[in-house]
């Protein structure tokens, strides 16, 4: 047996407990084993060998973690919770394989031809109205179909940058798996709004799924393989920045340096690459962005966890929305807590995921908003599915879509 490897960063935890009230699963389940502090204790025990890797109780509580990382922005000591969780899950996967549906999904996402087929089937279900119909079914299938039904197609018309816009850096846009597969309009809106603000969009053939879902699940080798392919593809594009419109993907790609830290051949390239990754809101904020009158509406803003907690970005998304000069746009009162989407979580833990979504649904209803803005495909679809199933008419849009529509209207008048 090899000597137990200490969990790097876990020692920063002095057990103060300040994280507990930031944790959606603790507030839902009321068990400290389902709090960051409790999970850190379990992860430390697994790392030092005092607890079996396959301990069923520990596995349950670690599986129930959303990975939202709200504990990280509550922690005075700076415990790198997300890294501890990925490292522990990777260790657990060796002893306890992932569920078959999860393995299949991860394989599909990592394989472009399969992903293309998978998402076209999804789009067909959506186009035929079957997804909306089947969303009324109870359980997992209903949730999945609702999630599919609320993904959407383009609404804005194409437009060109204004003459005289100062030119900015070359940018390659991550197309992503789910975003391009089901929410392609968000990618087009990303490209158009960046171009409108002076960035030059360059293509980067060979890019793939970012591997975030693989890393979160503990499938580190698959995540590393995807990271290497993406690094190579984006390097070849010659772009100064990699623009990402999915908060989860952006967070993962900004941490490629951590993922590949032990890879002698790739660690330096991963560091350089990670330093070039930007959320689309960061690039737009750096450019202003150019103002345009947004459609008057009552907008509620929700902050994706991997934008605010993992990437620690709050000002750039606010600047992006401020460009719309909306008079009635407000953060949801619980904008800092997770909606329950959390990647594959909504499919793996549907019951708990829906319980975590419930307060968000209530605060959206109480806000009186007719539209919710959030910058992550998982959140868009999970919140949208919740609203659809509740019979609500509130729409969910990516912030760049709102900006794109405003630009499109102004350019096409």
């Amino acid at each position: 047996m090899t000597a137990p490897k200490p969990l790097a960063g876990a020692d920063l935890c002095v057990h103060c407990g300040f994280c507990t009230q930031a944790c959606p699963t603790y507030l839902t389940l009321d068990d400290e084993n389902d709090s960051p502090r409790g999970r850190i204790v379990l992860m430390k025990a697994i790392a030092d060998g005092s607890l079996a890797v396959a301990d069923p109780a520990a596995a349950l509580h670690l599986d129930q973690c959303l990975g939202c990382r709200a504990c990280e922005t509550a922690c005075p000591s700076g415990v790198p919770y997300g890294h501890l969780l990925e490292e522990t899950r990777a260790k657990m996967v060796e002893r306890r394989p992932l569920s078959l549906p999860t393995r299949v999904l991860l394989y599909v996402f990592a394989t472009p031809t399969l992903a293309a087929a998978f998402f076209s089937a999804g789009r067909a279900l959506r186009a035929l109205g079957l997804a909306a119909l089947l969303s009324r079914l109870p359980g997992r299938i209903g949730i999945m179909m609702a999630t599919l039904a609320v993904s959407h197609r383009a609404r804005a018309r194409d437009y060109r940058p204004r003459a005289g816009t100062p030119s900015r850096e070359d940018v390659a846009v991550l197309q992503g798996c789910v975003m391009e597969g089901l929410l392609a309009p968000v990618n087009r809106a990303t490209e158009r709004t960046l171009a409108y603000n002076g960035y030059r969009i360059v293509s980067s053939p060979g890019q793939k799924c970012c591997g975030a879902l693989h890393a979160h699940a503990g499938a580190r080798d698959a995540a590393r393989a995807l990271a290497r392919e993406n690094i190579a593809a984006f390097e070849a594009s010659g772009a100064a920045y990699v623009a990402v419109n999915s908060a989860g993907c952006g967070a993962a790609m900004k941490e490629y340096d951590h993922l590949l830290a032990d890879d002698e051949e790739w660690s330096a390239r991963a560091r350089t690459f990670a330093s070039r990754v930007r959320d689309v809101s960061e690039l737009l904020a750096a450019a202003g962005p150019i103002q345009a009158a947004g459609q008057p509406r009552k907008l509620a803003v929700d902050h994706p966890c991997h934008l605010q907690h993992a990437q620690r970005l709050t000002d750039p998304p606010a600047k992006l929305l401020a460009a719309l000069r909306l008079t009635d746009a407000h953060d949801l009162p619980d904008a800092s807590s997770c909606c329950g989407a959390a990647g594959l979580y909504s499919l793996e833990n549907p019951g708990l995921s829906q319980r975590i979504l419930a307060p968000k649904m209530a605060s959206i209803a109480a806000s009186g908003a007719d539209c919710v803005a959030t910058g992550n495909p998982g959140c868009m679809m999970h919140i949208g599915a919740g609203l659809l199933r509740a019979g609500s008419r509130v729409s969910v849009r990516h912030p760049v879509e709102l900006l794109d529509e405003a630009y499109s209207r102004e350019a096409n008048v």
């Binding site: 935890c13 057990h15 103060c16 009321d30 709090s35 025990a45 005075p76 700076g78």
Partner: protein
């Protein structure tokens, strides 16, 4: 697990539901600690009642089984008070409903698991807040605050938990329900509620608590004064208080603490080259507040402050306070284990005591980070160290003993607000005579004759003359 524990667990599961009883070793791990790293005591089992009826039934079932128990709120305590060494732990975190807010009577009735800051949030629409604000207020519970008679920065002006508890319903350890109300003008007899607040879980389990809500002040100013010597900051504290000003809060953070906080997500903008900073807040009617600010600024400058900055808008004040309030948690950046002291000394003796603490630290080769309620003379020397290094741990323990002795020698006490719990137990005999300790045991016996609630805490067991013979009193 022995068969008696299995039977007890089943009985409790019938009351609260099986998901809320923990008996497995892995699920009990997190309940081995409170907010003080360095102690590990495994509970016999963990049970979390979800409402008043369940809580009463749990205590009654434990009484029937003659099983000792310890109540725990959020586990943020800093004296080991909620550690359960082989006895049952009752977790109160599920009981977190605010039962009523009465804006006219300026009071709120809450379940004990309500988090301190949630009560203030709920009271905000009425222009009210819950005044006692321990630094752990974002996580700690009202029930735990009552048990420890918790303090906090603003207790300098507004008083500690005791001054804000109006009533409580308590299950005595024998299962009897007791309504404790603050004696009003007509009431006669002993103030039993006053005895209960701060009894560190030894007198019973509160199932609801009614507290006073305080009107928000019209205006608040928060000042940050930065000093090149700790002495200067300590002297400024004495002169401000001596001048007759009662700040809402008067806190001191030293260089070691500033370094940890400024490296954290709660960086407050404290100058990292200062030897110490004072955080001074004044509040009240807008008229006259500027005079207080000017006078405090004068005293700080006279004591050697390099600069005194004033924050009046809510965001800037919140930032200054976040640094102070999260300082304890930020100590993990220095070392993984932490010894926390909670001594109180006469305010006028702050400077010499701080010098003595620094001397003791240097002598033992340890690091002390001071962050404390200077206005109350309530010191918190935090000593970050590596608990895996037994030689270092021994030096820390020796230094702690000397720091305590120094505080007592200056006319001080061993705890201001964290409670005695387990951590300060050895110092009780330095502070109290055998007769006093015996009197405490007898008071405890009046509430809990079977000695089932929080055994082994607060009063050293061997000081209780008839204590040792009972099954609950495990050494």
């Amino acid at each position: 697990m022995d068969s008696n524990t299995r039977i007890l667990a089943d009985r409790l599961a019938n009351i609260v539901g099986p998901r809320h009883v923990k008996t497995g070793a892995s699920e009990l791990l997190v309940y081995e600690n409170d907010g003080l790293p360095g102690y590990h005591k495994r509970p016999r089992l963990f049970v979390a009642p979800g409402n008043r009826e369940e809580a009463i039934a749990v205590v009654q079932a434990l009484a029937a089984a003659n099983a000792p128990w310890v109540a725990r709120g959020a586990g943020t305590g800093l004296s080991g008070g909620s550690l359960a060494d082989g006895v049952v732990m009752i977790g109160m975190q599920r009981m977190r409903r605010i039962l009523a807010i009465d804006p006219e009577a300026r009071s709120a009735t809450v379940e004990p698991g309500v988090v301190n800051v949630s009560l203030t949030k709920a009271a905000t629409p009425f222009g009210l807040h819950y005044a006692p604000d321990p630094s752990s207020q974002a996580a700690c519970t009202i029930g735990g605050n009552v048990a420890e008679n918790a303090g906090g920065p603003h207790c300098l002006k507004y008083g500690v938990t005791l001054n804000h508890v109006l009533a409580a319903t308590v299950v005595l350890p024998d299962g009897e329900l007791l309504e404790l109300r603050t004696p009003d003008a007509d009431a006669v007899g002993f103030d039993l509620l006053g005895a209960f607040v701060g009894s560190e879980g030894c007198f019973g389990l509160a199932v609801d608590i009614t507290v006073r809500l305080t009107p928000n002040p019209e205006r608040i100013c928060t000042m940050l004064a930065d000093f090149t010597t700790v002495d200067g900051a300590a002297d400024a504290v004495s002169t401000i208080i001596a001048a007759g000003i009662v700040p809402a809060a008067l806190e001191l953070v030293d260089a070691g603490t500033i370094a940890a906080v400024e490296a954290s997500i709660y960086a407050a903008g404290y100058p990292t080259d200062a030897a110490a900073c004072l955080l001074v807040e004044v509040d009240g009617p807008a008229a006259g507040l500027d005079d207080d600010v000017a006078e405090i600024t004068r005293h700080c400058t006279a004591a050697g402050a390099r600069s005194v900055k004033t924050a009046t808008d809510a965001a800037a004040r919140a930032k200054l306070w976040q640094g102070r309030k999260k300082a304890f948690g930020a100590m993990g950046r220095v070392a993984p284990t932490l010894a926390v002291q909670d001594a109180v000394v006469p305010r006028t003796r702050l400077a010499p005591v701080l010098r003595e603490v620094a001397r003791i630290a240097e002598k033992h080769g340890i690091r002390v980070c001071n962050v404390f309620h200077a206005g109350d003379g309530n010191l918190h020397p935090n000593i970050p160290y590596n608990g895996h290094d037994s030689a270092e741990a021994a030096r820390v323990h020796a230094a702690c003993d000397e720091i305590m002795a120094a505080c007592i020698a200056e006319g001080g006490s061993i705890t201001g607000e964290h409670g005695v719990g387990l951590d300060k137990l050895p110092y009780m005999e330095d502070l109290f005579t055998p007769d006093s300790l015996d009197a405490m045991c007898r008071l405890r016996d009046a509430w809990d004759p079977a000695r089932r609630a929080n055994p082994g805490k607060v009063v050293p067991v061997h000081r209780c003359r008839e204590w040792m013979a009972t099954p609950a009193a495990r050494s």
